[in-house]
Amino acid sequence: MKSLYDRLSPVVRDIPPSGIRRFFDLANQMEDVISLGVGEPDFVTPWHVREACFYSLERGYTTYTSNKGLPELREAIADYLCSFQLAYDPEELVVTVGGSEAIDLAMRTLLCPGDEVLIPEPAYVSYNPCTTLAGGVPVGVPTFAEDEFRLTPENLRKRITPRSKVLILCYPSNPTGAVMSKADLQAIADVVLEHDLFVISDEIYAELTYDGHHASIASLPGMKERTVLISGMSKAFAMTGWRIGYAAAPPEILNLMLKIHQYTILCAPIMGQKAALEALRHGHAEKDKMIDRYNQRRRMIVKGFREIGLACHEPKGAFYAFPDIRSTGLSSEEFAERLLHHSRVAVVPGNVFGQGGEGFVRCSYATSIEQIQKAIERIGNFVRSLGGIK
């Protein structure tokens, strides 16, 4: 007779556990750890947003909303997207439980079994398993530090096969902080159109673009019709725990995504939706203040890494620095683990983000200037203890 485990879904069984799990357990057991491992804002959700949620609860807003989300919230999202030159009707939007649910919905809607999904790597850890869970085949497309981790049309073309169906873009990038200019995106859009691909564009870090404005691939000619744009409140408005994201897509795609959403989630929690509405209506001043802070920390951490001898490209978005640790002679995992034990600084090894991440570590600067200064000092001591840069 088969064991309990053997009777479970082979698709799920075969997905490797998150590469950072072991590391996470180690870091959590230790005291006095400075963490640069956190992928979420260190700010608490602005008070007026929290207060708006209390008020809505007092008024008795505790019910389901429409599957797509509160109409007024979808209107506010549509208005907000206009600032990125994106014209969506509220009917082309669905409010989801975080951007994560939107990624899953998009994958399950777009993929047939065996379809290939092109994933520029290093990539956020969910794209590969979500592809597999939806019956697709993840295909990594390497990006390189020399290109500031931007996806190039040449590298994309090399991985396209007749089975290629979807390209995932995540810019500004978690984990590298890379951004794509409008010209970069146009070159990618040309390849996408040529090969008749769909695009899932995860733009959750759009607001955190430090030099110039964020460009969305959906704003380019011919791209809106084949793009599922994903974003949410988590990063820009410091609302990770509220789990409010959204997807924007052409009606044909959106209506199918909506079917999965209504049979699995039904709707995003109304409290979060009410809070998101307040954030979009009145939260831009607070948001801008937070972005200024990230920008100051970004400059500080990059300079810090360079001063202790670690090469670090300038991240132009998100809140991660991705220093190159190859000069120490250690692998990403060795570096991260020994750094944790030796100097009590937690960073995330780059290899957990797939091809091209090896030799780098992800350092979040969503923490105070004081912590960043201390962390850089400790990392400097650690690098020197290795006998310096090899």
């Binding site: 590391f23 870091a27 963490s35 956190v38 979420e40 850890v125 995330v348």
Partner: protein, 164 residues
């Protein structure tokens, strides 16, 4: 550009006056010499008046007493409220003096070592100044927030040490 840089420097210093010029320069992506030059200029122009610390005195066993006094005065010809305000702010125990709109004219904050000292100041010094018509003294019982800083111990980072 210059005025925006000045503002950015002021915001950083207001939040943490211990930041070095080099740190400010790294955070703003400019040359440290430029930061030094601007700070010097703003000190000379009396834009930056002092580098101070926000202290939660409730946690220190000093028995200090702070009083906020609403003062009604008769403004004087030519000098308006300024001359009387100056007479008041010269007293060393006076922490701040502001001209207010509304029910009273001057808000005076004073700090004393004990209640009696505050009472003496009001009765003997403040009330007896010519043109001071009336005073209402409020004692400050507890500070919850001052200069933008919340006086609370529960500001820990609640996040997991590592997340994807």
């Amino acid at each position: 550009m210059d005025s925006s840089l000045k503002l950015q420097i002021l915001n950083l210093l207001e939040e943490n006056s211990r930041l070095s010029h080099e740190d400010i320069a790294s955070m703003l992506g400019v040359d440290p010499a430029e930061v030094t030059r601007w700070i010097k200029e703003m000190e000379q122009d009396k834009i930056i008046l002092r580098y101070s610390t926000v202290i939660n005195w409730d946690k220190v066993d000093t028995h200090k007493v702070t009083a906020v006094i609403d003062v009604k005065v008769t403004p004087q010809r030519e000098v308006g409220f300024d001359a009387i305000a100056e007479r008041i702010y010269r007293f060393p125990e006076v922490k701040s003096v502001s001209l207010m709109s509304g029910a009273y004219d001057l808000q005076v904050v004073i700090e004393g070592m004990h209640l009696k000292e505050v009472a003496n100041f009001v009765a003997e010094k403040l009330s007896t100044i010519e043109h001071v018509n009336s005073t209402t003294t409020h004692f400050l019982l507890k500070t919850y927030k001052s200069n933008g800083v919340i006086f609370d111990d529960h500001e820990d980072d609640q996040r997991l040490v590592i997340t994807p």
